[in-house]
């Protein structure tokens, strides 16, 4: 897929030229996606807006470096995931959710809105599992992290990922496989040190 000639590319070029209407369009187009990525990773509604603002501020300041090799969504996705990990690092969150920043409303919402989650697993176990997987994902590169999240969280196929990133399908498969192996090895190391 050619990311240089699409309608999205024209929009990006306008943002690069500091067209505020174009930037507004980018924000409105992707704000829901950015919010859901952040909330999916952090499960912290209080800080989601703050991080989302930071993501779009970064998009605004860095868009001149956007090289059209990937889709705009892939690029924004990467920035968003990095901002979430920066947040986790800054707050030195070892446990993903502390009582202090996990509201009752969030807890109820989490209980009610996750049909995919096995209800027999207690909430604290699920939180520990989320904490573990976030730790493991911090052990791989930014590119690998974004790729596996786009595959498993956003549900994109290998073919779609190839189109979004500008890489060929085999490369995507190899990168995903290596990431999965790295995650397994990191899990093994973590288990041995515990």
């Amino acid at each position: 897929m050619d990311h240089k000639t699409s309608e999205e590319a024209a929009l990006v070029r306008r943002v690069q030229a500091r067209d505020e209407m174009a930037f507004r369009e980018v924000v409105e187009r992707y704000q829901s996606k950015v919010f859901s990525i952040i909330f999916g990773i952090l499960r912290n509604r209080n800080d989601a807006e703050d991080i989302a603002q930071q993501v779009f501020a970064k998009v605004y300041f860095s868009i001149k470096n956007f090289d059209f090799r990937s889709s705009l969504l892939t690029w924004i996705y990467k920035i968003t995931v990095n901002e979430c990990y920066d947040y986790l690092r800054k707050k030195r969150v070892r446990k993903l959710v502390y009582e202090s920043d996990f509201s009752q409303e969030d807890a109820q919402r989490m209980e009610a809105s996750e049909p995919a989650v096995d209800a027999s697993v207690p909430a604290d176990t699920r939180l520990a599992q989320r904490d573990l997987i976030l730790k493991l994902l911090s052990k791989v590169s930014e590119e690998e992290r974004s790729l596996i999240l786009l595959k498993e969280v956003e549900g994109h196929s290998v073919e779609e990922l190839a189109g979004m990133t500008g890489l060929n399908e085999n490369t995507i498969k190899v990168k995903l496989f290596r990431t999965r192996q790295k995650l397994l090895r990191a899990a093994g190391r973590l288990t041995r040190t515990r």
Partner: protein
């Protein structure tokens, strides 16, 4: 993991492989690794946000983003040093280095001063030879006694005083 599984791992994890490859039933190593990957995939999928999450976003988000952009301004090279953890570490290390150099300079100067004072208080008896020009005869100054020099200068002052009064 063996190639026949590795080549189809995405399909196996996505559950789109029509039947589990025969190899998995025979190879313990591959089946263990696939099981581990399946467990991890299930955990990663839990990072999905609830469907209705974006529905209750507060209005005016774009305005707040623009406020933030205006407040932050363009990113300068100094921001990288001030805001990043790496920059802060460099600043702390530089301060520590400057402090160490300062301590070293102060202590070494003090030691030098003390050494000079010790030398001055000592009665210096040195033999020096000054050669003035090529044709000039060598003048030898032997055993310059500091106390004698002091006494002679005192005598000179007294002599000057007497001469002055007599005038």
């Amino acid at each position: 993991m063996h190639r026949e599984i590795r080549d189809h791992i995405e399909d196996v994890l996505a559950g789109s492989q029509p039947c589990t490859p025969e190899h998995l039933n025979q190879c313990e190593e591959c089946s263990t690794e696939v099981r581990g990957m399946q467990e991890q995939t299930a955990l990663i999928r839990e990072l999905r946000a609830p469907e209705d999450f974006a529905a209750d976003l507060r209005p005016g988000f774009y305005a707040r983003v623009m406020e933030r952009i205006e407040a932050e301004g363009p990113i300068s090279i100094w921001n990288l040093f001030i805001e990043s953890a790496f920059g802060r570490r460099i600043a702390v290390a530089s301060l520590a280095l400057a402090l160490l150099i300062g301590i070293y300079v102060v202590t070494s100067e003090r030691a030098a001063e003390e050494a000079t004072i010790a030398l001055e208080s000592q009665q210096v008896t040195t033999e020096q030879t000054f050669v003035v020009g090529e044709d000039a005869p060598a003048r030898e100054i032997t055993r310059v006694d500091q106390s004698q020099t002091d006494e002679s200068s005192q005598d000179a002052v007294l002599a000057n005083l007497v001469t002055y009064r007599e005038q």
